[in-house]
Amino acid sequence: MALRSNIFIRRAEREDLDTVVEWMEDPDFQLFLYGDVTRSQRQIREQIVGLLGRAPGHTMPAAFQLILDSETDGPVGLVLLQNVSWRNRACSLDVYVGQKNLRKGIVIGLAFYRIMEYCFDELNLHRVSAYIYSFNSPSWRIMERSNAKRELTLKDHVVRNGQLHDMYGYGLLKREFDELRENLTGRMEGKSLIEMIDALHAKEEEAGA
C-alpha cells in the first residue's frame, strides 16, 4: 500500500516569520530544541529574521531553512539543516512540528523521508546528524525507523525543568538511507521528493493557465 501525505517542503520565506515566531513561543520549542535560557525572545527573533530569505542561490550556504507546508493546513513545521560542511558533506538536522497532532504520525515520517532525499540526492551530502533529547521519543523513533544509528548517548547532558536528561546523537549515512529506500520500494511510489516537486510545478502551471 502506498503511503499518502499532502505535506511538501519549500524554502522558508520572510512571510513565514510570524508563523515561525509563534512556534518559537510554544514551550515545546524551547523544551525540545533551543532551550538556552540566556537567550531572549528578541535575540532568537533577530536570528530567525537574519536567516530567512538571506542566502542567494549561487552561494554555498552553511544552513538551510525549510518549511513543512500543507495544502490543507498551511505551514506545519520548520526544518533547519545547519552546520553544513561541504568538505565533509555533512549537516546537522533540527525539525520542529508546530501541530502537535502531526508529531507522531506517518505524515512526519514521509516529510522526514523527503528531507533526507533533499540532503542526499540534491545537496549530495554523505551524512546527516541529529542530537535529540532522550525524552523526545517521537523524534528519535523516526531517526531509528529511517535506518539512522544511535551513535552517542551523552548521559545527564542537558537540563530541562530542573532535571538532567540524556542526549542521543544520531548519524544517518547515505548508504544507510539507500538501504531504507530499497526496502521501501513500492510503498514510496508517487511520494518521492522529485514527484512532490513535479506535482507542485503542475499545480502552479494549472493556476497560471
Partner: protein, 178 residues
C-alpha cells in the same frame, strides 16, 4: 601560573601563537582543532594571535600554555564551558608531540583542568573528543577515568579518507577529588 613537578601551566598570550600553530598540523588532524562543522582549520599565526588575545574567546574558555622545565611550550589546554544552561565543560588537551601524553606533564595538565571543572566551576562532567587516529589521547583519557559515550562515524574527510570521532565523558561523581 601553576608550578608543577613536570611543567608550568600559565594563561596563553598572543605571543604564544607560533607554538599554538604547531598544533594545527595539516597532516595530523585532531578533534580539538576542528571547527563546529568538524572541518579542519589552518589558521595563520596572526589569526591565532588574535584568538589568544580575544576577550570573548577567554569568556568561553581560556587557553593555557604548558611549558616544560626549560620553558619550552609543549602544548595547550582549555576548558570550554560558556553557556549557563549546561553543566558540562569540553576539555581540549593539545600537546604538540603525542609522546608527551605519556608523561607527567599530561597528568599535571589534566589535574589542573579537572580542578577547574569540578572544584571551581562545579561542573557535572567533562567531555572530551578524539578522532580514531588519536590513539595516545584516547589511552590517556581512559587512564584518567573517562568513559566512551560513543563514536560518530565518518564525520571528517581529510587526507583521502573518512575519520570517526569519539566522545568520552568523566563525571564529577566518578572522581575521587570531586
Amino acid at each position: 601560573m601553576i608550578f608543577g613537578e613536570h611543567c608550568v601551566i600559565r594563561a596563553a598570550e598572543p605571543d604564544d601563537a607560533p607554538a599554538l600553530k604547531r598544533v594545527y598540523h595539516p597532516g595530523k588532524p585532531r578533534a580539538a582543532t576542528l571547527d563546529r562543522r568538524r572541518e579542519p582549520i589552518l589558521p595563520t599565526t596572526d589569526e591565532l594571535r588574535e584568538l589568544l588575545g580575544n576577550k570573548d574567546v577567554k569568556l568561553l574558555g581560556e587557553y593555557y600554555a604548558v611549558e616544560d622545565a626549560t620553558g619550552e611550550i609543549r602544548g595547550f589546554c582549555c576548558l570550554r564551558a560558556g553557556r549557563q544552561d549546561v553543566f558540562f565543560g569540553e576539555m581540549l588537551l593539545m600537546f604538540i608531540e603525542d609522546a608527551d601524553l605519556g608523561t607527567g606533564m599530561a597528568g599535571e595538565t589534566f589535574a589542573f583542568l579537572k580542578h577547574k571543572a569540578f572544584m571551581e566551576r562545579r561542573l557535572n562532567k567533562i567531555v572530551a573528543q578524539c578522532l580514531d587516529t588519536e590513539t595516545d589521547l584516547r589511552v590517556f583519557l581512559v587512564q584518567q577515568g573517562f568513559q566512551s559515550d560513543g563514536v560518530a562515524r565518518e564525520v571528517l574527510y581529510t587526507l583521502g579518507r573518512w575519520f570517526d570521532n569519539e566522545t568520552l565523558s568523566l563525571f564529577a561523581s566518578q572522581h575521587e577529588d570531586a
